[in-house]
């Protein structure tokens, strides 16, 4: 492995931007088309005392991908010569699907996962969500289970093309 050492002439501001770009390229291990920047999981990158500090926020409290994401950030930054960064988890403000970028929503759809709809229906005890099938675009869909293959997804089925699909649920 080649270790790249940054020239000390780079300003902290430039280093911070480069570190952000490196961290932002880390993908969610469970939805590899999305980067942590697309998801809104990457909250802050700072240069403190010459070292890099990264703040990430969990999607769900028990999301097992968080350890993996933290490790991937460390590896990516070390690989790019930033030394061992400090990755910390912040809880507040709580992550919401509203932070997902438009780019992220498009990538999800193309990957076959329906992106989150407006979060307003979450509070209703028996929510009436309208989810569009990412396969055929039909709105004639039904929920199979509120809990899918990962904490952040529900399992739906399209009544038009008959295909089941994952729905990234509102949070």
């Amino acid at each position: 492995m080649v270790i790249v050492t940054h020239s000390p002439s780079l300003s902290d501001r430039e280093r911070r931007q480069r570190a952000w770009d490196v961290a932002a390229g880390v993908v969610d291990p469970e939805i590899p088309v999305l980067t942590i920047a697309d998801l809104g999981v990457l909250r802050e990158v700072a240069i403190r005392d010459g070292g890099v500090e990264v703040a990430i926020t969990p999607t769900y409290s028990g999301c097992p991908a968080m350890n993996m994401i933290a490790l991937e950030i460390e590896l990516a930054l070390e690989r790019e010569g930033f030394g061992k960064p400090k990755v910390r988890t912040v809880l507040s403000p709580a992550w919401t699907t509203d932070w997902m970028s438009e780019e992220g929503r498009r990538k999800l759809r193309e990957y076959g996962i329906a992106p989150p709809e407006a979060a307003s229906s979450r509070r209703a005890l028996f929510g009436v969500e309208q989810v569009t099938c990412p396969q055929c675009g039909s709105g004639d869909t039904e929920v199979l289970s509120e809990f899918g293959s990962t904490s952040c997804k529900a399992l739906w089925r399209c009544k038009s093309c008959r295909e089941p699909f994952d729905y990234f649920k509102c949070h």
Partner: protein, 258 residues
């Protein structure tokens, strides 16, 4: 057991965080016992997902308790190295899974309480508790919807599912009063705006319960006698068995990691 239990300095805030953490850990552990045994694949995933949410909440709360206590304890030591009498969870959450109806009723009683509880806690004057609540509240909303839908399906289902659901409601009812119980230590935190006063949530809880039970064609229990003890470490015989499984590895091989 090869490792001695830890001692905990239970200041009011440490105790408060541990009580909530223990609820989440023990209920999460119970739900995880269904993994591979649920009546259908979707439910297997749903119960495991909820267990994961609860485990995540427990970890945040234990870590905060450790930070406040500022001794050598951490989330793992709280979970793995306390005895039954040191656990502070509700008696409700330690009750065995029984059949699927019993698991759903237990979940429903707890989620109908936890959902408004976390929402109220979001206004806590304690920033960490408020942040943990803001995450947990989103998850509990899904847990409540899940168990409500199942309770209606079971209660308003076949004769057998109705009989089993009603039996579980009647059996578990006496454990619901403890959710609204408060002692002196907690009272002081409530007055300081750190803790939520659970008694203020009781009317709302009762309304959720009676609305869903009516849709499920289930009868509200008449009994008003309530069982207490879990919050002060006096548990049913079931918790010891649960902990012996949960803790066996760490007690046998101290500090072992993957």
């Amino acid at each position: 057991m090869a490792v001695a239990s830890i001692t905990v300095s239970e200041t009011p805030l440490v105790l408060y965080a541990l009580r909530r953490a223990d609820d989440a850990l023990i209920l999460g552990h119970r739900l995880s016992e269904w993994c591979g045994h649920a009546p259908m694949l979707e439910e297997d995933m749903a119960l495991a997902n909820m267990a994961l949410d609860l485990l995540g909440q427990a970890r945040e709360l234990y870590s905060y308790a450790a930070k406040v206590e500022a001794k050598d304890n951490d989330e793992d030591r709280f979970a793995y190295l306390r005895d039954v009498r040191q656990y502070r969870n509700l008696l409700l959450v330690e009750q065995p899974n029984g059949d699927f109806a019993r698991t759903i009723v237990r979940q429903f009683f707890y989620a109908a309480f936890a959902d408004p509880y976390w929402r109220a806690m979001m206004s806590s004057t304690d920033a960490t508790m408020a942040a943990i609540a803001a995450k947990s509240e989103k998850e509990s909303a899904y847990h409540l919807r899940h168990s409500s839908e199942w309770l209606i399906r079971l209660g308003d289902g076949t004769d057998e599912s109705q009989r089993r659901a009603q039996g579980a409601v009647d059996d578990l009812w006496s454990f619901t009063g403890e959710m609204f119980w408060v002692d002196g230590a907690e009272r002081a935190l409530i007055e300081a705006g750190v803790a939520v006063d659970p008694s203020s949530l009781r009317p709302r809880w009762l309304r959720t319960i009676s609305d869903v039970m009516a849709q499920a064609t289930l009868a509200m229990p008449k009994s008003e006698w309530m069982q207490h003890g879990g919050r002060s470490g006096r548990h049913s015989e079931h918790l010891g068995h649960l902990l012996s499984e949960l803790q066996s590895l760490q007690r046998t091989f101290p500090g072992v990691t993957w």
